[in-house]
C-alpha cells in the first residue's frame, strides 16, 4: 500500500493531537497546543481554530471522550481523553506515518542505484 505524495495536513494534525492526548490525558485544548509547539521545538505551531476543529472532529468520531472540569478560578474547561477506539486509530495512523517516512527516505537516499 503506497502512501500518496501530497501529505494530508488534516491527517498530520489528527495524529499529533491524538498522540498528545494519549500522552498527557485528560488535557484541555490549550495544553495540547502548547505541547505540540514545545516538543517540535517551535517548528510546528497549530492554529487555534484548526486545533478546536480537530478536537471536535476526533470527539465526533469517538476517538476522544470529553468531560468538563471546574478550576479554582471558577473557570470551566473541557478536558479530552483518548478512547480505546482512539488508541487503535492512533497506532494505525502512526504505523502508516512511519512507513511513509521510510519510503520517502528510501527515495531520497543518496546510496542505492535506480534499478533499470
Amino acid at each position: 500500500m503506497s502512501s500518496s505524495v501530497a501529505s494530508n495536513l488534516y491527517g498530520d494534525l489528527d495524529l499529533l493531537v491524538l498522540h498528545m492526548v494519549e500522552r498527557g490525558g485528560p488535557v484541555h485544548g490549550l495544553d495540547v497546543m502548547d505541547a505540540i509547539e514545545t516538543r517540535s521545538g517551535g517548528e510546528i505551531s497549530v492554529e487555534d481554530g484548526a486545533l478546536y476543529r480537530c478536537l471536535h472532529r476526533l470527539e465526533g468520531r469517538g476517538l476522544l471522550s470529553a468531560e468538563w472540569r471546574m478550576s479554582d478560578k471558577r473557570r470551566r474547561a473541557k478536558f479530552y481523553a483518548i478512547t480505546s477506539a482512539g488508541k487503535k486509530e492512533l497506532a494505525r495512523t502512526r504505523r502508516k506515518w512511519e512507513k511513509h517516512i521510510k519510503a520517502v527516505g528510501m527515495v531520497l537516499a543518496p546510496s542505492g542505484e535506480m534499478k533499470k
Binding site: V27, H28, E47, Y52, A77, K78
Partner: protein
C-alpha cells in the same frame, strides 16, 4: 507547565451539559482567557493582550459557527443512541419478564392469537373475495348486463335483447353473450358429457385475455355454414389431452340436445388458465339461422351478457342506455312485452365484480364484524390481565421509581412489554389464520363466489402488522394510564393492600363488563343464525327424501321431437320401476330444489274476465310421480299411466295453488287452462290436490305448483330427471339405472345418481356454514369473557379474604357470604349483559337477509342468551368466592 499535571487542578463537574452554543463558547472563552492571562503575565496590558489574542484567532465567527453545528450534531446523535439503548434494554427486560411468568404470557399470547387469527382470516376473505379485482385487464370496465325487475340484480337476457344492445350501444366498447350448451362427445370408450359455452363474436375482446395457444374466434367462424371450431378450456386441455400442444387441429365429434345433427369441431385454441367461467370448451354462436323460433327467442331469458365499458363512460351512463334500449324494444314488439310478467322489467347493468360477489357481500362483512368483535374482546381481556399484573408489581415498580427511573421510563417499559406480547400474539394469530383460511375454503359452501381464490396476501400481512401495533398499544394503555395517574412514589410502605384502590378495581371491573356485553352481542347473533338454520332444516318438505334418489339424464340431439323426448323418459321410468328392488320411479324436468322451469299462465274456472291470469310453476310429470316423490295426495288422485294422449285431459294442483285459485271451494272437479305462447291450451280437469313443495329453494315461501301428465302435454328440454324410490344401496341402484339407460340407448352417457339428501344438504350448506362460524366466534367470546370475569372476581376475593374470615368466625352462613362477596360482580355482569342485549336489539336488523323463519328481534333468542351469560358469569363469580369460604377462619383472619 507539563502536560501531565495541569488537569489535576480542575474538579470534575457532574454531568454538566449546556446547550451546544454554551459549551462551545465556554470552551473557547477558557482558551482565550488563559491566553490573555499569559500575555498579561508577560507584561502586556489587558487591552493589548486581548487584541493579540483576537488576531490569533482570525475568523472567530465562522469557526465558532462550525464548532457549534458539529457539537449539536453530536448531541443529537448521543441522545438517539441513548434512546436506542434504552429500547434495547426494555426489549430484553420484557422478554425476561414474560419468560418468568409463563402462565400469564401464554394466556395473553393465546388470547391475542385467537382474536388476531379470526380477524386476519376474515380480512383475507374480504380482500380476496370483495376487494380484489377480477383477473381481467381493466376489470373495472367489465359490466354485466341483464334483466332487472324493479331495479334489482341483473339476470339474463333474451337473444333479441342482446342483438338490440349490440347494435345500438355507444357506452359499451365491446359486448358479447354466452349461454350454456350440453354436448355429448365420444371420448375413449364411453360417451362423455361436456358443458360448452356458446359465445358471440367479441367474447375475447370483452374479457381481454387472449387464448394461451392457437387463436381466438374470428369473423368467419360465426358465419352460417362455416366449418365448426372450438376452443378448449385450460382445465380440460390438461385433463383430457395432457397439455399436449398437438391438441390443436384435433377433431371432436359431438352431438347433443341443442344440436340438430352430429357436429365435428376442430380445436383451434386453448384458453389461458385464469380464464375459467366454468365451461369445458367454447364454441361460436351462430346467430343467424338459429334453430329457435322467434317466439321462443323472445320469451326465454337464456343468455348472459357482458360488456366492456368504453373510455370515458361510467356505470350510470351504461345503465341509462340499457334502460332506453329496453324501452325501444318494448315499443317495437308490444306483443312480447305486455302482461304482468313484464311489469317492472327493464334492462340494467352492474359491474361484473359486484354481480359476482353480490350473494356473499352482506354475510362476509357480517362475519368480518364478528371477527373484529372477537378481537376487541381479546384485547380488552389481555388488557385486564396486564393491568392486574402491573398492579401486583406496584411495590417493585415503586422501588425502581425511587432508584431514579422516571414515570415516563416505566411507562415506556410497560408499553414495550405489551408490544412484545402483542407481536408474539399476532404471530400466533397469523399462523392460526393460515389454518383458518384453509378451513374456510374447505368448509365454504360451493356457491360462495371466488372461494378458491381466498388467500393471505401481502396487503393482509401488512394489515396484521398494523394490528399488532394497535393491539399492543391498546392492551398496554390501561396499565400505563394507571401508572401515570397514580405515580409510583409513596407506595413503598404499603402492604399487600398496594394497588387495591377503588379506582383500579373499578377500571378492571369495567373492562370485564365490556367483554361481557360484547360477548352477549355476538351470542345473540349466533343464536339467531343457529335458530334460522334449524328452521331451514326442519322445513316441511312436502315430499319424502328418505330412500329417494334423483338422476339427471341428458339426451342427444337425435331426440328432436317432444314425442321422442316423452317416450324415452316414460319408458325409462317404467323400466326402472319394474326393476327388482325399486319401489317406484317417475320423471320430471324440474323436481323440487332443481329450479322451476316453466311458468305458463293459468286460466281457471271462475276467473274474473278482466283479471290477468296468474303465472304458476307447472311441471310435466311421468306417471306415479307423487308416489315416487312421496308427496301425499290430499284429495282426489295422482297421475297414472292411464292419463295419456287420447284420454281425458287432467291436471293436479298443490294445496297452495288450490287455495289461491279457489279459496272457498273444493278444487277437485274444477277446470284450468295452461296457456303458453301459441300452443293449444284446452281445458283440463283437476283430479287431485297434493301437498305443497319447495320450488327452487328452501327459503322462499312455497309457491303454487301445477302438475300435468307429460304424455298429454310436454315441453321439450335437453334433459330431465328420473326420481327413484328404493332402499337399495346406492351402488346397486346406480347399476340398475345405468343398465336401463344403456338398454334403451347406448349413445347416452351413463348418468349419475344422487340421494335426495345431497341437493338438500347443498341448500343447507350455506346457512349451516354461517351459523357454524359465528357460533364458534361467540363461544370463544363467551369463554374469554367468563375467564376475565373469573380472574377479576378471584382478585377481588383475595382482597376480601380477611373479611370473609371474620364473617365466618361470626357465624354467617356460606350462602350469605357468597352473596355479599359476589354481589358487585354479578351486578356488573348484568349491567354488561343488558348493554349487550340492547346493542344487539338495535342493530340486529342488519342480519335480516340471512335469517329464515325468525325475526331479528326474536324474544326467545334474546332470553336464552341472557340466561346463558348470566349462568356462566354467575358460576365464574361464585367459584372463587366459594373457594375463599373454604379457607379455615384462622388463616383467613391472619391473611392480608
Amino acid at each position: 507547565m507539563t502536560l501531565r499535571s495541569s488537569w489535576k487542578r480542575y474538579f470534575r463537574i457532574q454531568a454538566w451539559r449546556g446547550s451546544a452554543e454554551k459549551e462551545v463558547d465556554t470552551e473557547l472563552q477558557f482558551h482565550i482567557q488563559e491566553l490573555v492571562d499569559r500575555y498579561v503575565d508577560q507584561g502586556m496590558s489587558e487591552t493589548e493582550a486581548r487584541r493579540r489574542v483576537e488576531d490569533r484567532f482570525g475568523e472567530y465567527g465562522p469557526m465558532r459557527e462550525e464548532l457549534v453545528r458539529s457539537q449539536e450534531r453530536r448531541t443529537r446523535r448521543r441522545r438517539h443512541q441513548g434512546i436506542a439503548d434504552d429500547l434495547r434494554l426494555d426489549f430484553r427486560l420484557s422478554l425476561r419478564t414474560l419468560v418468568r411468568r409463563p402462565r400469564f404470557s401464554v394466556l395473553a399470547i393465546l388470547t391475542l392469537g385467537l382474536g388476531v387469527g379470526a380477524c386476519v382470516t376474515l380480512s383475507s376473505v374480504v380482500n380476496s373475495v370483495l376487494l380484489k379485482p377480477l383477473p381481467f385487464p381493466e376489470s373495472n370496465r367489465l359490466m354485466h348486463v341483464g334483466t332487472t325487475r324493479g331495479g334489482g340484480l341483473p339476470g339474463r337476457l333474451t337473444m333479441p335483447e342482446f342483438l338490440a344492445i349490440r347494435q345500438q350501444t355507444h357506452t359499451l366498447e365491446y359486448v358479447a353473450a354466452y349461454h350454456t350448451v350440453s354436448l355429448i362427445v365420444q371420448l375413449d370408450q364411453q360417451p362423455d358429457q361436456l358443458v360448452a359455452g356458446e359465445v358471440t363474436e367479441d367474447f375475447f375482446r370483452v374479457f381481454g385475455i387472449p387464448p394461451l395457444l392457437g387463436r381466438a374466434f374470428e369473423e368467419e367462424d360465426f358465419r352460417q355454414g362455416a366449418s365448426p371450431v372450438a376452443i378448449l378450456s385450460h382445465r380440460v386441455w390438461i385433463q383430457q389431452w395432457g397439455g399436449d400442444e398437438g391438441a390443436l387441429g384435433r377433431r371432436v365429434v359431438a352431438h347433443g340436445p341443442d344440436l340438430e345433427e352430429v357436429v365435428t369441431y376442430t380445436i383451434v385454441g386453448v384458453m389461458a388458465p385464469d380464464f375459467d367461467l366454468g365451461f369445458d370448451l367454447l364454441v361460436p354462436q351462430q346467430i343467424t339461422g338459429t334453430i329457435w323460433a322467434e317466439e321462443f327467442m323472445f320469451t326465454n331469458w337464456t343468455h348472459s351478457v357482458v360488456g366492456r365499458m368504453a373510455d370515458g363512460r361510467d356505470e350510470a351512463q351504461v345503465g341509462a342506455e340499457m334502460n332506453a334500449i329496453a324501452g325501444r324494444l318494448a315499443s317495437e314488439y308490444p306483443q312480447y312485452y305486455s302482461g304482468s310478467l313484464h311489469q317492472d322489467r327493464s334492462i340494467g347493468a352492474m359491474l361484473l365484480l359486484d354481480k359476482t360477489v353480490h350473494s356473499a357481500r352482506a354475510s362476509t362483512w357480517l362475519l368480518f364484524g364478528a371477527a373484529a368483535l372477537l378481537l376487541v374482546i381479546a384485547v380488552v381481556n389481555v388488557s385486564g390481565l396486564y393491568l392486574a399484573r402491573v398492579l401486583d408489581q406496584r411495590h417493585e415498580l415503586a422501588v425502581r421509581g425511587a432508584l431514579g427511573a422516571g414515570t415516563g421510563r416505566l411507562a415506556r417499559q410497560t408499553l414495550t412489554e405489551s408490544l412484545v406480547l402483542s407481536v408474539l400474539g399476532t404471530s400466533v394469530g397469523v399462523i392460526l389464520a393460515f389454518a383458518g383460511v384453509r378451513t374456510f375454503r374447505v368448509l365454504g359452501p360451493a356457491n360462495f363466489p371466488r372461494l378458491d381464490t381466498i388467500s393471505i396476501g401481502l396487503g393482509v400481512l401488512g394489515f396484521s402488522a398494523a394490528l399488532a401495533l394497535a393491539t399492543g398499544v391498546l392492551a398496554g394503555a390501561a396499565p400505563v394510564a394507571i401508572l401515570g395517574k397514580q405515580g409510583c412514589g409513596g407506595t413503598l410502605n404499603g402492604g399487600s393492600r398496594v394497588g387495591r384502590s377503588k379506582g383500579t378495581g373499578r377500571l378492571r371491573s369495567g373492562l370485564v363488563g365490556v367483554q361481557i356485553s360484547l360477548a352477549a352481542y355476538l351470542l345473540v347473533g349466533s343464536g339467531l343464525l343457529v335458530r334460522s338454520f334449524w328452521n331451514l332444516h326442519e322445513t316441511e318438505l312436502g315430499f319424502t327424501p328418505e330412500n329417494l334418489s334423483v338422476s339427471t339424464v341428458t339426451l342427444p340431439g337425435s331426440y328432436d321431437t317432444v314425442e321422442e323426448y316423452v317416450r324415452f323418459f316414460t319408458n325409462a321410468s317404467r323400466r326402472l320401476a319394474e326393476t327388482q328392488g325399486v319401489d317406484a320411479a317417475s320423471w320430471v324436468p324440474d323436481p323440487p330444489l332443481y329450479g322451476g322451469w316453466w311458468y305458463p299462465e293459468i286460466v281457471f274456472d271462475g276467473m274474473p274476465p278482466d283479471q290477468n291470469p296468474p303465472y304458476m310453476n307447472t311441471h310435466t310429470v311421468g306417471p306415479e310421480y307423487f308416489a315416487s316423490m312421496g308427496i301425499p295426495v290430499l284429495r282426489g288422485r295422482g297421475i297414472t299411466p292411464r292419463d295419456r294422449a287420447g284420454t281425458g285431459l287432467v291436471a293436479v294442483v298443490d294445496e297452495v295453488a288450490a287455495a289461491w285459485l279457489w279459496p272457498s271451494d273444493e278444487a277437485v272437479g274444477k277446470r284450468i287452462r295452461v296457456v303458453s305462447g301459441q300452443e293449444p291450451s284446452p281445458w283440463l280437469t283437476v283430479v287431485g290436490v297434493v301437498a305443497g313443495t319447495p320450488g327452487a329453494s328452501l327459503t322462499r315461501d312455497p309457491a303454487p305448483q301445477v302438475y300435468v301428465p307429460a304424455q298429454q302435454r310436454a315441453q321439450r328440454y335437453g334433459q330431465a330427471r328420473l326420481v327413484v324410490r328404493s332402499d337399495l344401496p346406492p351402488t346397486a341402484l346406480v347399476e340398475r339405472l345405468q343398465s336401463v339407460i344403456r338398454a334403451l340407448d347406448p349413445s347416452i352417457p351413463p348418468p349419475t345418481l344422487f340421494p335426495y339428501s345431497t341437493p338438500l344438504a347443498a341448500h343447507l350448506r350455506t346457512p349451516r356454514f354461517y351459523a357454524l362460524l359465528i357460533g364458534a366466534f361467540s363461544i370463544m367470546a363467551v369463554t374469554l369473557a367468563a375467564v376475565g370475569a373469573y380472574s377479576q372476581v378471584a382478585y377481588l376475593v383475595m382482597g376480601k379474604t380477611r373479611e370473609i374470615g371474620i364473617r365466618k368466625a361470626l357465624g354467617a352462613g356460606v350462602w350469605r357470604i357468597l352473596a355479599s362477596v359476589s354481589r358487585d360482580s354479578i351486578t356488573l355482569a348484568m349491567a354488561g349483559l343488558l348493554a349487550g342485549l340492547v346493542l344487539a336489539a338495535g342493530t340486529s336488523r342488519v342480519m335480516e337477509s340471512l335469517l329464515f323463519g325468525i325475526e331479528p328481534l326474536d324474544l326467545i333468542t334474546f332470553l336464552a342468551v341472557g340466561f346463558v351469560i348470566l349462568a356462566t358469569i354467575t358460576l365464574a363469580c361464585i367459584f372463587p368466592a366459594f373457594r375463599a369460604t373454604r379457607i379455615p377462619s384462622v388463616e383467613a383472619l391472619r391473611s392480608d
